[in-house]
C-alpha cells in the first residue's frame, strides 16, 4: 500500500515537472532574448506559419497546439508569454534532452513565421483577436 502511494506521488511529481518544464529558458542569452519578430502580427506571415506548423509541428503538438500525449501544449502561459527571441532560440537549438529537435534547417524567416503563428493562437481559453484559421486550411 505504502509502495503504491509512493509511486503515485512520484508519477504526480514527474508529470508536474514535465508540464512546467521551462529549463530551455535558462540557456537563452540576453542577445537572443532581445530579438524581435520581423513578421509579428502580419497576416501573410501568420498564414505561412500556419502551413509550416501543419507540416512540421502539428503531429507532436496537436493541430490545435494543445499538446499530444507527453508533447507539451504551445498555448500555455509559459510559451505565450515567452519573448519572440526566446522562442526563436528554442526553435534554433531545440531542447534535445527533452525530445524537442533543433529546427535550424528551417530558414530563419520560416522560423519567425512559425513564431508569429504560435503567438497568434493565444493562451488556451482566451479568445485571440487575430483568430487564425485552423492549421493546414489556408
Amino acid at each position: 500500500m505504502k509502495r503504491a502511494r509512493f509511486s503515485i506521488w512520484i508519477l504526480l511529481a514527474a508529470s508536474v515537472c514535465t508540464a512546467a518544464d521551462t529549463g530551455w529558458l535558462k540557456h537563452v542569452s540576453d542577445a537572443e532574448r532581445a530579438r524581435t519578430n520581423p513578421f509579428a502580427g502580419q497576416s501573410d506571415a501568420i498564414a505561412g506559419g500556419s502551413r509550416l506548423f501543419a507540416e512540421h509541428c502539428s503531429k507532436c503538438h496537436g493541430e490545435d497546439a494543445l499538446g499530444r500525449g507527453k508533447r507539451p501544449s504551445l498555448r500555455t502561459k509559459e510559451v505565450q508569454q515567452a519573448s519572440d527571441g526566446e522562442l526563436f532560440s528554442l526553435l534554433k537549438n531545440g531542447y534535445l534532452k527533452k525530445g524537442m529537435p533543433s529546427w535550424s534547417a528551417l530558414p530563419e524567416a520560416s522560423r519567425w513565421q512559425l513564431i508569429a503563428y504560435v503567438k497568434s493562437l493565444g493562451e488556451h481559453g482566451t479568445t485571440n483577436a487575430a483568430s487564425p484559421a485552423p492549421v493546414g486550411r489556408q
Binding site: 540557456h27 497576416s43 501573410d44 506571415a45 498564414a47 505561412g48 506559419g49 502551413r51 509550416l52 507540416e55 512540421h56 503531429k59 507532436c60 496537436g62 499530444r68 500525449g69 534554433k92 537549438n93 531545440g94 531542447y95 534535445l96 534532452k97 527533452k98 525530445g99 524537442m100 529537435p101 533543433s102 529546427w103 535550424s104 534547417a105 528551417l106 530558414p107 530563419e108 524567416a109 520560416s110 513565421q113 489556408q138
Partner: protein, 325 residues
Amino acid sequence: MQQIVCSNIDGRSGRKLDLKCIPPSCNWFANIQSKEIVKLISALCLLALAILATPAAAQEWPYFVTYSHALEEPGNLEVEFKGVQATPKFGNAFSSGTIEFEYGATAWWTTEVYLSGQHTSNDSTVFNGYRWENRFRPLLREHFINPVLYVEYENLNAADRSLLEIVGHDSISDLRIPNAAARSVTERELELKLILSSNVRGWNISENFISEKNLTEPEPWEFGYAFGVSRPLALKAGSKDCFFCRENLSAGAEIYGGLGDMDSFGLKETSHYAGPTVAFDIPHGPTIGFSPSFGLNANSVGAIFRFKVSYEFQQIFSHFHRGAR
C-alpha cells in the same frame, strides 16, 4: 556446387585477387530466394506504414553522399529509396537500389538500416547486403559548426554499387568485376564519420571526414571525404498552398572522393566526383531528388546519375500511445 577461379585486380589496393566464383546458372535459386524475401519484407513494411502513419515532408538537405547535422525528428520514420545508374568505361552499365529506414530514436540519436541490391547489364541482379548506421549529436545546442558522430556496421558483398561513399582506393576497376565473382566476397566493415555542418543565412555547408576498416581482412584503415553546400530556393513560406513553387525546391552541389589508406594517404589512385543536386518537396507527399555526379579523374566513372524518393512518417508509434488522437 561447381566453383571456378576468377582473377581480377582489386581497385582499392591494386593487388591481384583470386575470387572463387559461383556460376550464375548454378546460383539461380539462391538469387531468386533472396530477391523474393527482400520484396516481401519491403511490401509488408510499406503496407504497415501506409496504414499506421501520416506522411510529411522531411527537414533535410538535397544531398546524396554528404551528411548534415540534421537528424530525424524523434518518433519519425523516414523511408527512402536511393537509386544509382552509371556506365563505367569498358564495363557493363549498372543500376543500384538502396532502401533506407531512418528512425529518430531521440532528438540527438538517429538510427538507420539500409538494404542494397544492384542489376548489371549482360550480367545478373544481386542482393548486396545491409548496413546499420547510427548518428549522434554530442553537443545539445546549435553552434556555428555542429559536429555529429557517425558509426556504421556494413555487411555487404563486393558487388555493392550503391556508392554511398568513396573511400580508400575505390576506383572504376571495382565496377568491372563480374557479379558472380564479386558477390562471393563478403566485407564486414566499420565506418566512422565526423560530420561537421553549419546553417548560415539559409545556406547549409557540410563537411564529412570518413574512415573505414575491414573487420574480416587485415587491411589498413581507409579514408574519404564529402563536402556539400545547399540552400532552399525560397526562405519564407507563402501564405497559400502551392505545388511547383520555389519554397518546395532546394539546390546545391556536392564533391566527394577517396583519400587513400593508412599506407598511402592522398588524393591519388582513387576516384573523385562532383555535381549539382536538387530536391523537390511535394506538398503533403514525398521528397524527390536528382543529382548527376561527374568523375574528376581517370579512376572515376564519367557520370553517375543519382535519384531518390523519401517519405517521412511522423510519430510512427503514436497510434499505440494512450491518449493519442
